[in-house]
């Protein structure tokens, strides 16, 4: 419509202006879009989390029987008292995050979701679990309580706590 109403000699200028307008417009839109995505992505990632601390107080060592495997379901860890001393395993299956349980009759750790089985030392022996249950950092606090840090992994057989 506007083309018809514009005098012919101005046609090129109008087209150029329009092209420039579209070009500048789309460029600035693209920049704004990328900016919005960056800020949007940062917005999606919460900066403060109201989640429980990774450090768990597992109580007094003398409460654990020798040779026992104790599941702390609330925190998702096993506290194991072996002959060498205490160590802790994550009880969260390395496959897809289900909570595993210890079966005393087979002396193994089972996952109910997809049938993975682990040894007491964390090694995966059956099922789809790709990795062993990780060993977690364990230490004795000053008040004599056993502490476990769920966020810190240690190499298997590397650290025991003796009480």
């Amino acid at each position: 419509m506007s083309d018809q109403s514009t005098p012919k000699q101005d046609g090129d200028a109008v087209d150029l202006n329009r092209r420039r307008f579209v070009k500048t417009g789309s460029t600035s839109l693209a920049i704004a879009g990328v900016g919005a995505c960056v800020f949007g992505l940062r917005y999606l990632s919460p900066n403060v989390l109201y989640e429980p601390s990774p450090v768990v107080n597992a109580g007094k060592p003398e409460h654990y029987r020798a040779g026992s495997v104790t599941l702390d379901a609330k925190n998702g860890i096993f506290v194991i008292r072996a002959a060498e001393g205490f160590y802790a395993l994550s009880a969260v299956c390395t496959h897809l995050g289900c909570l595993t349980t210890y079966k005393p009759d087979t002396d193994e750790i089972d996952c109910p979701c997809h049938g993975s089985t682990f040894r007491k030392d964390g090694r995966a022996i059956a099922g789809p679990a790709p990795q062993a249950l990780p060993w977690l950092k364990v230490w004795l606090a000053e008040d004599g309580n056993l502490m476990v840090d769920r966020a810190t992994r240690v190499a298997p057989y590397s650290e025991y706590v003796t009480a």
């Binding site: 989640e51 897809l96 289900c98 909570l99 109910p112 979701c113």
Partner: protein, 454 residues
């Protein structure tokens, strides 16, 4: 005064009157309704009204969902308490929730059947590629809606189903854990995750689905409804000889055309019948609700709804990245690729396949090689994932090996099938076998059980 627009004349004023607008709309609608369809396209047998029925279930989902939102708070543990309120306190609460649940199941089921029907009637062919691709997108949106809705009741199955799903996402190399954190809004399935899933389930995904659905329906109308038409709007003839085509054209020309209203009427009737069925099911069977989500105890077995048990069965055999990301990714790309597969049905591919088929030994070796490689990939004990592949390979071997093809109808029928047919058939066979095994034959610890003994 010269800059002011002239007042409308009496005639133009009439054009702007609301009554005139209504008249115009009426005639527009009447024109759409006057569209005519061939009599043979009207019957149940052509489409089973699957698209309309799927749309019907989606409408039920929106209506019941909007009503359920009036009583649901996306917070912990209030969300679960609201489920209990719906069940015991709120009038018709159980019915609404059950209807929402069973209608969701029906929608997923109908979409799968719709897709299979469209495929085997070859209704994905040009110019309908876009609509097929849109349909695959709609299927994925529907599955995502199911998955996000699954968390909202905040019971045991919700919690653990979402935990497993979120861990599948985190198995993506490099990006995975970050992606999981963004989706859950934290390190575990908690209040942030519930709120995010709620927003996805009630706003983001439905709006996306409605937008795509509009394009899907618009394309359906543009592509000639249920006809298969060419560029000139004439029905496409698929006879093998000129005589067959001529006879088909004559038949189509002599066939009665019926007003579009009749089709609309039938489809609405079908939707109503489905609604009655779903209402009845909802009245008899209440949607299940487990105990309050308990992060300290994983139920055994923790089963997904039936349309995800096939995936769960794969997860039993493969590492999560393969079962949860690679294989579904391959399936979805395969589905996207289907309308474009004739590119691969060209002369060269045919010649290569013929070269293979000319000697039974070559063909057999090739088939065994494929089987051996897939067996190694899947590990030998994954027999149920391998079964459809076995059927697939043996059908091809049966079709290709042996003396002259003529005389054996099944054999020549199998040989004619294009690549897309085998992609889709393999996909459907895998889906049916894995879903059946995962739903009925798996018990505690994902061990094999016989359903009649459980």
């Amino acid at each position: 005064m010269s800059t002011r627009a002239a007042l409308p004349t009496k005639e133009q004023a009439h054009l702007h009157s609301p009554l005139h607008a209504v008249e115009r709309w009426k005639s527009d609608i009447a024109r759409i309704m006057a569209d005519r369809v061939l009599e043979s396209q009207l019957g149940f047998r052509k489409t089973w009204y699957l698209g309309a029925l799927t749309l019907g279930t989606f409408t039920i989902q929106i209506c019941t969902g909007l009503l359920l939102m009036l009583y649901y708070h996306p917070s912990i543990p209030q969300g679960y308490a609201d489920m209990k309120d719906l069940e015991f306190v709120i009038s018709s609460g159980t019915l609404l929730r059950s209807l929402h649940r069973w209608s969701a199941h029906a929608m997923v089921f109908l979409i799968f059947v719709h897709m299979a029907k469209v495929f085997y009637r070859a209704a994905y062919r040009p110019p309908r590629e876009l609509n097929w691709v849109l349909g695959v997108c709609l299927l994925m949106l529907t599955l995502l809606l199911s998955y996000t809705g699954y968390l909202l009741p905040w019971d045991q199955l919700s919690y653990w189903g979402t935990t497993v799903g979120a861990n599948i996402i985190s198995s993506v190399p490099w990006l995975g854990p970050k992606l999981r954190f963004y989706i859950l809004g934290g390190h575990s399935v908690n209040a942030n995750a519930l709120l995010r899933f709620y927003v996805l389930h009630t706003m983001t995904l439905p709006l996306g689905l409605i937008a795509l659905l509009c394009v899907h329906l618009w394309r359906l109308h543009k592509d000639g409804g249920m006809y298969e038409i060419d560029g000139q709007g004439r029905p496409v003839l698929r006879g093998k000889t000129k005589e067959e085509n001529r006879a088909e054209a004559a038949r189509l020309a002599s066939e009665k055309t019926i007003s579009y209203q009749e089709l609309l009427f039938r489809e609405i009737t079908a939707i109503e019948a489905l609604a009655v069925v779903l209402f009845t099911i909802g009245l008899i069977y209440a949607a299940p609700l487990e105990q309050l989500a308990n992060p300290m105890h994983t139920p055994n077995p923790a089963k997904a709804p039936w349309y995800f048990t096939g995936l769960q069965e794969l997860l039993h055999y493969f590492p999560p990245f393969v079962a949860g990301i690679i294989l579904p990714g391959l399936i979805v790309s395969g589905l996207f690729f289907i309308p474009f597969s004739p590119v691969f049905d060209n002369v060269k591919t045919r010649e290569a396949i013929d070269w293979l088929r000319r000697h039974a030994a070559r063909w057999l070796t090739g088939a065994l090689l494929i089987l051996a490689i897939s067996a190694l990939m899947i590990r030998v004990h994954a027999w149920d994932a391998l079964l459809p592949l076995w059927v697939f390979v043996s059908l091809n071997v049966f079709a290709a090996v042996g003396p002259a093809m003529n005389g054996n109808k099944l054999r020549s029928w199998l040989l004619e099938k294009p690549i897309s047919f085998w992609i889709m058939t393999l996909f459907l066979m895998e889906a049916v076998v894995l879903t059946t095994v995962g739903t009925f034959f798996r018990g505690p610890g994902w061990a094999w059980v016989w359903p009649w003994r459980a």
